[in-house]
């Protein structure tokens, strides 16, 4: 709910739900907050039931801090560990059926645009690797091909964590997991490549041990999805339980995986670059001034 179009009569604001007042008075609603201020304001996601050392939770928390317009953001997800945390955030979350997140987000985005026109109502899909690359694959790809204007974020822990550690399409080849007793027999699915082929305007990989970078890619992805087209972020969010990573080594693992197969990558379409430069003043995408002519 935006503070721009709901102004409470002084004296009545105290009758608003406590959670909402907290978000306005001590949280990010109606003002800008950044990851560097963590600890100094009330966050959208505070309590969660996730395992100790869960990198996915850290990522979700950072992502929510990074939403450019949290009071007008709606998240969509599916079954998996992630939704246990996302559903406790103080912004709306759609938890529908198995693998339906990009279909739901398509209808939701179009419906909101019918009602609110260009007034930003950001829709962000956050789902796991199994929910997105396996059971929700068709809807994910088709939403991209249809150029649906919302952001898709994959919480890639390379395993079905919530059901107890089974192989997913995003698991690496040869990895032994439940349902892959002899090791996975095919490669990790190239969802990044498919996102580009399907026409995403922005595609990025990120790991959670660099909060500023997470903030940067989330902001760009959400802004670009408002007007240019679908955006995709693939985040490595390890499962320290199924991959037996000691709690104090989770960040080390993220660093190692980043160096191994999750190097930061970012694809920004030409149109998206111009849009970020024109609308939001992103200097990195502004046209370079013509080099001064060499003195003759």
């Amino acid at each position: 709910m935006s503070l721009d179009y709901v102004k409470f009569t002084p004296g009545f604001d105290r009758f608003m739900p406590k959670e909402y007042r907290d978000m306005v008075e001590h949280g990010p609603f109606g003002k800008k907050t950044t990851v560097s201020q963590v600890g100094s304001f009330k966050e959208i996601l505070e309590e969660h039931p996730m395992c100790a050392g869960c990198a996915m939770t850290l990522f979700i928390r950072l992502a929510m801090i990074s939403f450019p317009n949290p009071e007008d953001t709606i998240t969509v997800g599916t079954a998996g560990c992630g939704r246990l945390a996302i559903s406790q955030a103080a912004i709306p979350f759609v938890y529908g059926n198995y693998g339906d997140q990009n279909g739901v987000a398509s209808g939701l985005t179009r419906g909101l645009r019918l009602r609110f026109g260009d007034k930003p109502k950001d829709v962000v899909v956050m789902a796991g690797d199994g929910g997105m690359a396996d059971i929700g694959f068709a809807q994910t790809l088709h939403s991209w091909f249809r150029k649906e204007k919302f952001t898709t974020i994959m919480l890639d822990n390379e395993v079905y964590g919530n059901t107890g550690g089974q192989e997913s399409g995003m698991t690496n080849r040869n990895q032994v997991l439940k349902m892959a007793p002899l090791g996975k027999k095919f490669e990790k699915m190239d969802m990044l490549g498919m996102a580009k082929v399907a026409g995403c305007a922005y595609v990025a990989t990120v790991v959670p041990n660099n909060p500023r970078r997470v903030e940067n890619v989330i902001k760009k992805a959400v802004l670009i999805a408002r007007e240019i087209g679908p955006t995709y972020i693939q985040a490595y969010t390890s499962c320290n339980i199924e991959y037996a990573i000691p709690i104090d080594k989770v960040m080390e693992d993220a660093k190692a995986v980043e160096l191994d197969r999750y190097k930061f990558s970012e694809y920004v379409s030409e149109e998206a670059r111009e849009y970020l430069a024109d609308q939001y003043g992103y200097k990195e995408y502004m046209p370079k001034p013509a080099p001064a002519l060499a003195k003759s």
């Binding site: 309590e47 759609v94 985005t109 419906g111 809807q139």
Partner: protein, 451 residues
């Protein structure tokens, strides 16, 4: 620009102008063409009561698919999502024509039915009025999201043009898919003919969005018999449309971030296995079915009741049917009259909620009840038997059944009536299943095994 100078308008086989390539925003003068949305923009909002009961109607001889199109044209639909499947495809492509003409605001062809039904859920959550249609295997492919619509309290209207679902794959009429829809928690209507389809669809939008209902409505019809055949349909003028969905007044907040945020779950264990989880799920189910119950008064108000009884008072035999079987049963009533058998007809309009009390009253004194159906399993006979058990001593014949695309000759129904009364099994049709009091226990046991 005079009419004579306008470029020739291309039409589809139904005679509708193809305008979907025209842009909505192009000013007429600038493009030199007639604004394709001009007519839609002129539509006037009228109350449901005026639309349903007072507006003058004109009769047209059109197919069921065209009836669905005309109903949607007058229903102020925001978002419609299409995916082809026989015998539904014509309906949703005609809705595409309405989109081109501006009567439907948003429309696209989805990836398959799971995706379509998910996106309808998204659209309904956004607070807009949604419509889609499917058939047979499409219904079953989409049933996971469809079955979750009622729990999420998503008003929407889906039309099911019933067809075969089992192997071997076939496109023929057979309404077995209704058996699956009956247990989803949605409201389910069954249209007998083109006129019903037109009326039920429009009324479905209004009933679906009533605050104390807030449920999806499935409007079923038997494929081909209704979708592809022409019938008379009386319709109010197309210059009228129903009031738009008003999500601000909804009893369940829509997900537009305009309400103070509600955390889906405050306590983590709610989504795990413990008492609170069981309790919450149980409460949701109770509330869904209570809402189904609360829709009765609106079905009475707008549709004239959950069923329609013809010549039932004092009748010895009652035929109970829904959908196309009701049309055949009506003919069978006439044929029985010629044989001096006093026969009445109960046509069931609403399968969920089910007219239990109405049936108990109407069937109290009947001797014989015959329930013809276009499916193998006899879902209607099961519901009728369960509803009137203990309230009627009638012998119940669950049949005749035709399925897989077979038609239902009126003689089959008459044979069952005569066989039911005399105890002599027909030699011309396969034997049906019988239940009721004062009959052979073996026959009852056979009935129970076969339904």
């Amino acid at each position: 620009m005079s009419e004579a100078l306008e470029p020739e308008v291309k039409t589809n086989p139904q005679g509708d102008p193809i305008t979907s390539t025209a842009t909505a925003d192009a000013p007429a003068a600038q493009s030199g063409r007639k604004d394709p949305h001009a007519e839609a923009k002129k539509q006037k909002v009228v109350s449901p009561e005026y639309m349903f009961f007072e507006a003058p109607r004109e009769r047209e001889f059109i197919t069921g698919s065209e009836c669905a199109k005309e109903a949607v044209r007058r229903s102020n639909v925001d978002l419609s999502i299409a995916y082809p499947i026989t015998p539904q495809s014509e309906t949703m492509q005609l809705i595409g024509v309405l989109y081109g003409e501006g009567y439907v605001k948003e429309y696209y062809r989805g990836e398959e039915e799971y995706g379509v039904m998910s996106a309808i859920a998204g659209g309904s959550r956004a607070g807009v009025r949604c419509f889609t249609a499917t058939a047979g295997p499409g219904t079953l492919r989409g049933i996971e999201p469809i079955a979750s619509w009622p729990g999420h309290r998503l008003p929407a209207v889906a039309m099911f043009t019933c067809r075969v679902v089992n192997a071997p794959l076939a496109i023929q009429p057979d309404n077995i898919e209704i058996a699956y829809l009956l247990n989803c928690g949605m409201i389910v209507f069954h249209s007998e003919n083109q006129q019903d389809l037109f009326d039920y669809l429009m009324k479905a939008f209004i009933i679906s969005e009533k605050n104390d209902v807030t449920l999806p409505v499935g409007v079923c019809c038997d494929g081909f018999f209704v979708t592809h055949a022409r019938g008379y349909c009386s319709m109010p003028d197309r210059e009228f449309k129903l009031p738009a969905r008003d999500p601000w007044r909804g009893s369940v907040p829509v997900l537009d971030a305009e309400n103070p945020p509600a955390r889906l779950s405050r306590d983590a264990p709610v989504q795990k296995s413990n008492f609170m989880a069981y309790n919450i799920h149980a409460v949701w189910q109770q509330e869904v079915w209570a809402a189904v119950e609360r829709s009765r008064k609106y079905i009475d108000l707008y549709m004239g009741g959950l069923l329609e009884a013809e010549n039932v008072e004092g009748a010895e035999v009652i035929l109970i049917a829904s959908g196309s079987a009701a049309a055949q049963a009506r003919e069978a009533v006439r044929a029985c009259k010629e044989k001096s058998i006093n026969t009445g007809l109960i046509k069931i309009r609403s399968l969920r909620p089910f007219p239990t009390n109405e049936l108990r009253k109407l069937c109290a004194n009947a001797k014989l009840i015959v329930i013809p159906e276009f499916n193998y399993v006899g879902w209607l006979a099961k519901d009728v038997a369960a509803a009137i058990y203990g309230y009627s001593k009638a012998k119940i014949v669950a049949g005749p059944h035709v399925y897989g695309g077979m038609s239902m000759p009126v003689e089959m129904i008459v044979d069952e009536v005569e066989g039911g009364l005399t105890g002599k099994k027909s030699s011309t049709v396969p034997s049906s299943d019988i239940m009721g009091t004062d009959i052979d226990p073996a026959a009852v046991s056979h009935f129970m095994q076969n339904i």
